[in-house]
Amino acid sequence: MAQISFRDVRKTYGTLQVIHGVSTEVADGEFVVIVGPSGCGKSTLLRMVAGLETITGGEIAIGDRVVNQLEPKDRDIAMVFQNYALYPHMSVYGNMAYGLKIRGLAKSDIDARVKRAAEILELGAFLERRPRQLSGGQRQRVAMGRAIVREPAAFLFDEPLSNLDAKLRVQMRAELQALHRRLGTTSLYVTHDQVEAMTLAHRMIVMNAGRAEQIGAPLEVYATPATTFVAGFIGSPPMNLIPQRRGERDVLLGVRPEHLEPCAAGDAMLTVDIDLVEPLGSDTLVYGHLAAANGSGVRVAVRLHQSVDARTGHLAVRYDPSKAHHFDPQSGQRIAT
């Protein structure tokens, strides 16, 4: 059990800087998700915690030890890889026991730990199988089992669900949550999937181009995105960003698709020329662009809770000004209201 501290962590490859100083604390027992598009540096950050990448600047501490100079095996962490990285020639049991064997644990102790992990993950029937005889979800569980048996201070997950099909991903997401409730181990989880981030995280770190754009609880990030990047990345479809003039200055008005409500033409705050309608059953997504009257042909999305017959035409919408956001068009930063 331990907290993880990032103190102005930086990474450069030659002259290329990929992490521009990340500082945050992961509390003991917390589940923190690092989320961002590919190439944003999220995996690099995780691998720096694991000790698979060197730390160019700043400090990472696990517990109260600065680990910058420690080998991965001395950091008291366990990692789950995207492609599982199971040893193909070892049985499920062998895969889970290998790290313990190297650490010189007694046979009986290894056996007890592997059996317990197998029981938690429902792998008891597969202990003698080879990884290639298992399904994707089972392999994923073995990879987790390999992490669990070590009883580390922290779990590091590098996109562990992205090789699974959609249905299995939802199921494994729930299992991960249950597992974390049961073990309470500090966890750092990297993903590019904002739904995974929203559902799993106690807190999330939204990264873009090597910077932590926003760090906060999922609903807080959703409700008050700090930048236009976060506004666009968290939520699907992304927040509508509409250039406006507000008093003396240009601003970007941000409204989430679900906060736009259809209304009578007379009350309309925005009028949308419909381009495409996607009925999803529970609700309907309408994509279109703003009519010239209120601006610039900006593309917008609206989430309606009723079905619409129209394939084309106009849709008059309004929104609750208290649910609108404003951003600076140059810096992309949120403007406090």
């Binding site: 080998e71 366990a78 492609n83 990285a85 040893y87 290998y98 390999r146």
Partner: protein, 282 residues
């Protein structure tokens, strides 16, 4: 593929049958000659029916060689060949797999330079550098020794390259997972890379066993003493002069004996050999 073109089928069968005959007939003649007496082999044309001298001929060559040519016993030649054919693949595998491990998994100065140095030696097989290599071995006093027979043939760019290519197909995450699990590089090598390389090693073993067994030019220079003859050299030394002076029945018996071990290795290792060439356990 299903095709119904009788002429094509007939023609392709004819070609294949001709091919089989071209390979199999000389083998058959060799076998027949090895079962006949010396006088029978001199008849023109030679009988194509196996004779009754098989046991006599084979025990003669195994025990005492020929009477007119080399008198070295073929049994000791077979032992020499076996030593050579085992030392070469084992030595090659041991050296190559470790070099490939270094080149793929470690970052050291001039890594690529050394890789290309190894690669370039592909252009310098023993036959090309035979005179300087002979000089070195002779100066080191290694003529007529097993070391002299095998060491110059052990360094191998081909095998290093083969293992390097195989290691590069192993996902990096496997090495990283082993690092997180606490395995040292050598531990990773022994516990993960070696077991995964089993099929590649088996394929290499078969190829190199045959390469070592069939070596001709090098042992011809190095093995001047009868006791160091390999089977292939033994055949050469049994042929002494004019056609009629050679005991062809005994020479053919030796040839059959020299052919058997490589054939056995291929047959016994065939499953592994094919596996090593076409699939990897990943």
């Amino acid at each position: 593929m299903v095709e119904n073109r009788p002429w094509l089928t007939a023609a392709s069968h004819a070609v294949l049958i001709l091919g089989v005959l071209a390979v199999a007939f000389p083998l058959y003649v060799t076998f027949v000659a090895s079962t006949q007496s010396f006088e029978q082999t001199l008849q023109m044309p030679m009988s194509l029916v196996p004779g009754d001298q098989m046991v006599k001929n084979y025990s003669q060559v195994l025990g005492a060689g020929t009477t007119t040519g080399s008198k070295a016993a073929v049994s000791s030649m077979l032992v020499n060949s076996l030593v050579m054919a085992l030392a070469i693949p084992i030595g090659k595998t041991a050296i190559s797999i470790i070099s490939a491990f270094a080149i793929v998994y470690f970052r050291f100065p001039l890594r690529m330079f050394f890789f290309w140095m190894i690669f370039i030696t592909l252009m310098l097989p023993v036959e090309v550098r035979i005179i300087p290599t002979f000089k070195v071995i002779a100066d080191l006093g290694m003529l007529n020794t097993y070391a002299g027979l095998t060491v110059p043939l052990i360094a191998s760019a081909t095998a290093t390259f083969l293992f390097r290519q195989f290691f590069m197909t192993i996902p990096d995450e496997l090495a990283e997972a082993a690092r997180v699990d606490g395995a040292s590089p050598m531990r990773f090598f022994v516990d993960v890379l070696l077991p995964l390389s089993k099929t590649t090693m088996a394929a290499l073993f078969v190829i190199q066993f045959i390469y070592g067994w069939n070596q001709y030019l090098w042992p011809l220079l190095i093995a001047t003493d009868e006791s160091m003859y390999t089977a292939v050299i033994g055949i050469k030394r049994m042929i002494v002069g004019s056609d009629a002076a050679n005991e062809w029945n005994l020479i053919m018996a030796t040839a059959i004996l020299a052919m058997l071990p490589p054939a056995l290795v291929v047959m016994l290792m065939q499953k592994w050999f094919v596996k090593g060439l076409v699939e990897t356990e990943k």
